[in-house]
C-alpha cells in the first residue's frame, strides 16, 4: 500500500527495526535533528514499525534484496526477533547492526547470567510487585474461550545480531552518536563501501580522543577503586588516575569521549577494537595491571571494590564475549 506512486528514479529503500533494546536507538535516529531531513530526503523508509504503519507482510511481499539497507537495533531475545532478522536479511542488500545491543548483545545480554526459568520465576512470581497467585507463566500458545493466542518464544540465551544472521556493518554505541550515524549513511549512499564486517567507527581506543589523555601518569597504580558517587570527580584529570574504573583504554573511539566530557567514566558501549576478541577480558587485564600491590590478599581487597565485575567489564558485550553466558548447570 506504500509508495505506489513512486517516481521512476527511485530513492534507495531502507528499513529500521527494533529487537531487544530500550528504544534509545530509535531515539538516536530522531536525534539527528536537521540531519534527519537529509536522510529522509535521500532515502525512502520502507519499514519502520515505531514510526510508520507498515506491517510484516509488507516486507514479506518485497523482492529479495529490495531494500538497500536495514538498520536493526537490539539483541535477539525472542523467536519473533530472530524471524524478523532473517526476513530483513533476505530482503536487504546490506544488514547493519545498529547500536550496542545488535552489535555485541548489549545490556539485555547481561540476562545471560541467568536462564529462562530463573528470569520467568523472578519476573512472574517473585518480584515484589507481582500478583500472580496462580503462578501463570508466559506460554507461546494458549486457549481462552475457544480463541487461540500466541506469543513469541523466549530464548534461554540472548544473542547479538550477527549470532543469528550475517551482518555487513556495525554501528557501535549506546546509542550510536548522530555523527556516527550520519557518516555511516553517507558512506553507504556514496557507494564506496568499506570492507564487509567493519565497525563504522575509528579502530583505536577511546583514550586517543579523550580530552584528559595527557593527565594520565606513565606509571599509574591505584590501591582503591572508587565509584562515581563516592567522590568529587576532578573535571580535568584522567579518571583512572582518580581511581575510577574507566573503560576508555579498552573501548573503541568514535563517541568523542562524550561520557568523559560529562565527567563520567566510559562504560564501554562502543565495544573493543577489531584486534580484541573479548572486551571484558582485555579491560580486566588493563584494570588489573594498575593494582598497586603484589600481595594476594591486598590484591583481592582492591579488586573486591569493583562491584559486579561482569556487569562492569562486560556491560555491553557478554553475549559476544568468549564467556557468552554463565555456565549452565549440567542437567
Amino acid at each position: 500500500m506504500a509508495d505506489t506512486a513512486a517516481p521512476a528514479a527511485v530513492k534507495p529503500k531502507v528499513a529500521f527495526y527494533w529487537c531487544a533494546s530500550c528504544g534509545g536507538c530509535e531515539e538516536a535516529v530522531v536525534d539527528l535533528a536537521e540531519a534527519i531531513l537529509d536522510v529522509v530526503g535521500a532515502v525512502d523508509i520502507a519499514f519502520w514499525p515505531v514510526a510508520l504503519d507498515f506491517k510484516r507482510h509488507d516486507v514479506e511481499a518485497m523482492d529479495d534484496g529490495a531494500l538497500l539497507a536495514s538498520f536493526v537495533n537490539g539483541a535477539i531475545r525472542t523467536t519473533e526477533q530472530a524471524e524478523m532478522a532473517l526476513l530483513l536479511r533476505q530482503k536487504s542488500q546490506l544488514l547493519i547492526a545498529f547500536g550496542a545491543c545488535a552489535h555485541l548483545g548489549g545490556i539485555p545480554g547481561l540476562a545471560n547470567l541467568w536462564d529462562r526459568e530463573s528470569i520467568f520465576r523472578q519476573v512472574y512470581a517473585e518480584s515484589p510487585s507481582t500478583v500472580n497467585p496462580e503462578g501463570t507463566l508466559p506460554q507461546t500458545r494458549s486457549e481462552e474461550d475457544g480463541r487461540r493466542l500466541t506469543l513469541p518464544g523466549f530464548y534461554d540465551t540472548v544473542r547479538s545480531l550477527d549470532q543469528v544472521v550475517p551482518v555487513d556493518y556495525y554501528l557501535p554505541g549506546c546509542p550510536p552518536t548522530p555523527k556516527i550515524i550520519v557518516q555511516a549513511v553517507q558512506t553507504l549512499l556514496s557507494g564506496a563501501l568499506p570492507p564487509q564486517g567493519m565497525v563504522l567507527a575509528p579502530d583505536r581506543a577511546l583514550c586517543d580522543e579523550c580530552p584528559r589523555k595527557d593527565t594520565r601518569p606513565e606509571k599509574l597504580t591505584t590501591s582503591e577503586f572508587k565509584r562515581p558517587h563516592q567522590v568529587l570527580i576532578d573535571e580535568t584529570t584522567c579518571l583512572l588516575a582518580q581511581g575510577l574504573l574507566c573503560m576508555g583504554p579498552a573501548t573503541r573511539a568514535g563517541c568523542e569521549a562524550l561520557c568523559v566530557r560529562g565527567n563520567m567514566p566510559c562504560s564501554g558501549c562502543f565495544g573493543p577494537t577489531s584486534r580484541v576478541r573479548d572486551h571484558g577480558g582485555k579491560a580486566l587485564s588493563a584494570i588489573a595491571s594498575i593494582v598497586a600491590s603484589n600481595d594476594t590478599g591486598e590484591i583481592e581487597r582492591i579488586l573486591a571494590q569493583v562491584p559486579d565485575p561482569i556487569g562492569t567489564l562486560y556491560r555491553y558485550s557478554l553475549p559476544s564475549s568468549l564467556l557468552r553466558r554463565r555456565r549452565r548447570e549440567a542437567a
Binding site: 579502530d203 583505536r204 581506543a205 577511546l206 583514550c207 586517543d208 589523555k213 595527557d214 594520565r216 601518569p217 606513565e218 606509571k219 599509574l220 597504580t221 576508555g248 583504554p249 579498552a250 573503541r252 573511539a253 573493543p272 577494537t273 577489531s274 584486534r275 580484541v276 582485555k282 579491560a283 587485564s285 588493563a286 595491571s289 594498575i290
Partner: protein
C-alpha cells in the same frame, strides 16, 4: 593464509621433517605414519622421516629439499627447541631460507617421553605437526640485530668467588668494578681458620689474592657499597652504585689503626660482626687485621660524635695532619657502564634458632660451626683457643650434622660442605683440646678429591661417629653444666644420651635474605629454594637467563672453595668470550607498537619489566625500544586495544596453531 606468488594453491610450500631420535621418538611414535600424514596436509610439498635429523646428513636433507622443492617454510618435529632450534635454523639459512621461517615441534619431551600409548602418542604428534604447518605459513622473515659490547665488567660480591672472577677478568686486560657490601673483601673464607681437606691456612691462601685485587691497575674496588639500580641490556648495562660513607677519606687513611687505639672507648662495646658476636669492637674499627682495603670505618650507630656531637674526638687528634677522618662524609652515588656482570653474592648460614630443640642461644654451650671457625682461628676472639664461654676447655664435644639441611621443616637440600667442615672441626678441636668428639650424622658425604681419605684420618684419630639425627639437646643437670645430646644410634637401634661440654651445630647454607631484591635488580630468576638459577644445570651452569649476567660461587647453590673458584673462573671466561666477540646478536622476538592503532593510553608502560616502553610526546603514542625488549609478551597481552604485536608470536599465527591442534584428522 597469505598469498605467496608462484606457489601452488596459493600457500607457502612447506617441508616437514620428522626425527626418529633413534628410538627416543620412534620407539613410541609411529614416525612413518607421521610423515604420511604430514604429506597430506595443505601446503606440504615434501615430508620425510629420518633417524637423526640433527646429524649432518639429516640437515643436508633439509638444505637439499629447500632448493629442489623450492621450500618456503620448514617444520622439524623432533626434540625441544632448546636443544636444536639453532641447528635447524642454521640449516635452513644455509639452504637460503630466512631462519625464522622454521618451526620446531617437540614430539620427544612433549610426547614420546611422557606417553606410553603408541596410538595416542602418534595421534598427538599428528596434531602438533598439523598445528605447526598451519602456523609456519604465517611466519614472517625476521632479522637478528647486533649491538656492540662495552668491555668493562662488574663483579658483585667480594668473597673468594668474586675475587677470583675479578682477578681473572682483570688479568685478561678488562677493566673490572668489584662492588662489596661489607667494609672489606674476603667474604666467609676470611672467617675460616683452615680449609678442608688439606688443612691449608685460609688466610695464607686468601690474603695474597685480596692484596692483588687492591693493587691491580684494572680493578676499581668499591667496598662498603651496594648496587642500587641496573638498567640497559647485554653489552650495555648502566649500573648505579651506592657508596656508603665510612667517614674516612680513603685516599688519606694509611690503615695505621692509631685512631682505633685512641678512641674514647677503652674497650669495645658493640657486637663484632666479623667474629659473630664472640667479641666486641669499638665504633671505629677495622673488621680484621688483613682487611682489604686497609681502611678503618666508623659506625655512626655507636659513635659518640654521631650520637651527641660531644665527643672529645681523640681519633681526629691522633690522626693529626693526615686528616683522614671526616664526620661530614655523605653517601655517594656512582654510575658506571659495563658490558657484563658476574654475580658472586654468596650465601648465609642457617639460623640455628629456627630449630628450637637444639637450644642455640638458649644454652651458651651450643655454638654454630662458623662461630667455632672463629674460635679455632688464631686471629679470632680467643686467639685460637677452643674454650667455652665460661673459659673452660671442653672435654667432650658433639658435632650435630645436617642442621638446617636435608630437612623438610627447614631446607630440603644437602648443603654439601657441612660433612667436610664438620670433619675438619672435629680434627681441629681434638687437636687443640684432646676432647672426645662425637659426630652425629645421617650420612657422611665425602665425594671430593682427598675427602674420603680425610674422613678416614679423622676416624683413625678416635673421633666418634654416631649415625642418627639428633632429636633433642637439654641440660644434664650435673655440676659441670653439661648438655645431653639425644639421638637414636640407628646402627645399634638404641637411643643414646651423650653428655657433652660443648655442642657444635653444623649449620647449612642458605640463600641470602635479600635474594629476591637482588634477583629483581639484575632481572634473573631463582630456583624454588631461592638460589640464583643457572640457564642450564649441566650445559650452562654459570649463565643466567639474562644475557651478559653470570653466576659464580655459592649464590647459585652450596659450594666449597675449590668449586667456587672453578665456577668464578668459568663465569669470567664466559664474560670474556662475550666481551671479545665485540658485539652481540639479539633475538628478534621483540614486540612493537602499531602506531596507527595505539591510543596512547599508557597501560603498557609500567608493566614492562625491562623498562623498554616509552611514551613519545610528539605522537602521544607508546614506543618500544627493540634493544631493551626481551619479548616477554606482557605488553602484548595487556594492551587494551590490541595494538601491540610481537614478532614470531603474532595473534594470527597463534590462532592458526590452535586451530591446527583442534582440527583432528
Amino acid at each position: 593464509m597469505p598469498q605467496i606468488s608462484g606457489s601452488p594453491n596459493g600457500r607457502p610450500r612447506v617441508g616437514v621433517y620428522i626425527c626418529h631420535c633413534g628410538t627416543n621418538i620412534a620407539g613410541i611414535v609411529d614416525v612413518r605414519a607421521l610423515s604420511e600424514h604430514a604429506a597430506t596436509l595443505p601446503g606440504v610439498v615434501v615430508a620425510r622421516d629420518y633417524k637423526y635429523m640433527c646429524s649432518d646428513p639429516g640437515q643436508e636433507l633439509i638444505i637439499r629439499d629447500i632448493a629442489e622443492h623450492d621450500l618456503h617454510r620448514v617444520v622439524v618435529a623432533s626434540c625441544s627447541p632448546l636443544l636444536h632450534e639453532q641447528t635447524f635454523r642454521n640449516a635452513a639459512a644455509k639452504g637460503g631460507l630466512n631462519p625464522f621461517q622454521v618451526q620446531m615441534v617437540n614430539i620427544r619431551e612433549h610426547d614420546s617421553w611422557v606417553h606410553a600409548d603408541r596410538q595416542a602418542a602418534t595421534a598427538k604428534a599428528k596434531d602438533l605437526i598439523r598445528a605447526a604447518v598451519r602456523r609456519v605459513a604465517l611466519h614472517r622473515p625476521l632479522e637478528r640485530r647486533r649491538v656492540p659490547i662495552n668491555p668493562d665488567a662488574l663483579v658483585v660480591g667480594g668473597g673468594i668467588a668474586g675475587i677470583h672472577a675479578a682477578l681473572t677478568l682483570a688479568n685478561a686486560g678488562k677493566h673490572v668494578y668489584l662492588v662489596e657490601r661489607e667494609p672489606t673483601i674476603g667474604g666467609h673464607m676470611a672467617q675460616f681458620d683452615k680449609t678442608f681437606p688439606t688443612l691449608d691456612c685460609a688466610a695464607c691462601i686468601l690474603t695474597p689474592k685480596m692484596t692483588q685485587v687492591r693493587a691491580h691497575p684494572n680493578i676499581t674496588l668499591w667496598t662498603y657499597s651496594e648496587v642500587a639500580q641496573v638498567g640497559g641490556y647485554v653489552g650495555n648495562y648502566e649500573v648505579t652504585v651506592r657508596r656508603k660513607p665510612r667517614y674516612i677519606v680513603e685516599d688519606l687513611c694509611v690503615g695505621c689503626r692509631e685512631c682505633i687505639e685512641a678512641c674514647v672507648y677503652k674497650e669495645g662495646k658493640t657486637r663484632d660482626e666479623f667474629n659473630l658476636g664472640l667479641s666486641k669492637r669499638k665504633p671505629i674499627y677495622m673488621p680484621f687485621p688483613q682487611a682489604v682495603p686497609q681502611l678503618v670505618v666508623i659506625d655512626p650507630e655507636t659513635c659518640i660524635e654521631f650520637k651527641s656531637g660531644k665527643c672529645k674526638k681523640t681519633c681526629v687528634e691522633v690522626c693529626g695532619d693526615r686528616k683522614a677522618i671526616d664526620f661530614t662524609q655523605q653517601e655517594r652515588v656512582e654510575t658506571i657502564h659495563v658490558g657484563t656482570i658476574v654475580l658472586a653474592t654468596g650465601f648465609k648460614v642457617f639460623d640455628a634458632q629456627r630449630i628450637p630443640y637444639y637450644g642455640y642461644r638458649t644454652y651458651p654451650q651450643v655454638y654454630t660451626a662458623l662461630e667455632v671457625e672463629r674460635l679455632v682461628n688464631a686471629a679470632g676472639p680467643t686467639s685460637g683457643e677452643v674454650v667455652l664461654r665460661d673459659g673452660r676447655r671442653p672435654e667432650s664435644v658433639a658435632i650435630v650434622h645436617c642442621v638446617g639441611s636435608r630437612d623438610e621443616n627447614t631446607n630440603r637440600w644437602c648443603s654439601r660442605v657441612c660433612c667436610m667442615y664438620s670433619l675438619k672441626l672435629a680434627h681441629l678441636i681434638k687437636e687443640k683440646t684432646d676432647a672426645e668428639v662425637y659426630n652425629f650424622y645421617i650420612d657422611i658425604r665425602t665425594p671430593g678429591k682427598g675427602f674420603e681419605e680425610f674422613y678416614n684420618r679423622v676416624q683413625e684419630e678416635g673421633t666418634h661417629f654416631i649415625r642418627g639425627k639428633v632429636a633433642d639437646i637439654y641440660p644434664a643437670g650435673d655440676d659441670r653444666g653439661r648438655l645431653i645430646v639425644q639421638a637414636e644410634d640407628t646402627l645399634l637401634g638404641k637411643v643414646r644420651k651423650i653428655p657433652v661440654d660443648m655442642v657444635v651445630l653444623a649449620v647449612g647454607l642458605e640463600p641470602r635474605p635479600d635474594t629476591q631484591d637482588v634477583r629483581r635488580l639484575f632481572n634473573i630468576t631463582c630456583s624454588t629454594e631461592g638460589w640464583f638459577l643457572e640457564r642450564h644445570p649441566k650445559l650452562a651452569p654459570v649463565n643466567t637467563f639474562t644475557d651478559g649476567v653470570f653466576l659464580a660461587g655459592a649464590c647459585q647453590g652450596p659450594k666449597d672453595i675449590p668449586d667456587s673458584v672453578a665456577q668464578a673462573g668459568a663465569a669470567a671466561a664466559e664474560a670474556l668470550a662475550l666481551i671479545d666477540a665485540g658485539s652481540v646478536e639479539l633475538e628478534p622476538y621483540t614486540a612493537f607498537v602499531v602506531e596507527e592503532d595505539c591510543s596512547g593510553c599508557k597501560t603498557c608502560i609500567p608493566l614492562c619489566p625491562y623498562n623498554a616502553i616509552a611514551f613519545v610526546a610528539e605522537t602521544k603514542k607508546a614506543a618500544i625500544n627493540e634493544v631493551l625488549c626481551k619479548g616477554c609478551g606482557v605488553c602484548v597481552a595487556a594492551c587494551p586495544s590490541g595494538s601491540i604485536t610481537q614478532n614470531f608470536f603474532e595473534d594470527e599465527a597463534i590462532f592458526e596453531e590452535i586451530k591446527g591442534v583442534l582440527a583432528h584428522a
